[in-house]
């Protein structure tokens, strides 16, 4: 079974600063997908960024980028120029490729990110 670990329960930074959220995972598979999801107080999970394990290039989406280190099984999220609207719970998640979705997403415990004005 896969596990996902987020070691930072809570982080707080000032608006406009850069923040990095850490995530490590454990799997014996070679092909898989990794995700960062954001959950604001509204409860709705929103995809932030997605990475396919066979791609060496790190995914980026505007102010959001990842540092994917496959050998180290690390998948950190960097948020640049942080904004008040970035305040939310952030979940790192893993999906098996071979499972065909049958195992769903395996989530970490989450990091509560607070952006201070």
């Amino acid at each position: 079974a896969q596990t996902v670990t987020q070691s930072q329960p809570e982080m707080s930074v000032q608006e406009a600063e850069t923040v990095t959220l850490s995530c490590t995972y454990d799997t014996s598979e070679n092909n898989y997908y990794l995700f960062w999801y954001k959950q604001p107080p509204s409860r709705q999970m929103i995809l932030v960024i997605r990475q396919e394990a066979y791609k060496q290039q790190n995914a980026t989406e505007n102010r959001f980028s990842v540092n994917f280190q496959k050998a180290a099984k690390s998948f950190s999220l960097k948020i640049s120029d942080s904004q008040l609207g970035d305040t939310a719970m952030y979940f790192c998640a893993f999906m098996s490729y071979s499972g065909g979705g049958a195992d769903g997403l395996t989530f970490g415990k989450g990091t509560h990110l607070i952006i201070q004005p």
Partner: protein, 114 residues
Amino acid sequence: GAGVSQSPSNKVTEKGKDVELRCDPISGHTALYWYRQSLGQGLEFLIYFQGNSAPDKSGLPSDRFSAERTGGSVSTLTIQRTQQEDSAVYLCASSLDNRGTEAFFGQGTRLTVV
């Protein structure tokens, strides 16, 4: 609708009663997932449907839980004889396929068992 719709948004029920939670996925999405989110357990995967079929039901917490999907669309999660430990937010998600494409989540149903 444009997104995944779940109903009800909130449900308070008495211990021992049955409840039914509904999920209306995005039209055309073949994959549908149910998750449970609670303070103690975090986010737990419950069950996955590809079309109307659920290949593995072992993620359901107990035999009081059941789920079905009809017409490749709407899904219902039923909890019989609810217990206090069933209190949680139940999230539904759908995706275009089962190949790691983006999963779109509903806003969840907050279930409180009193």
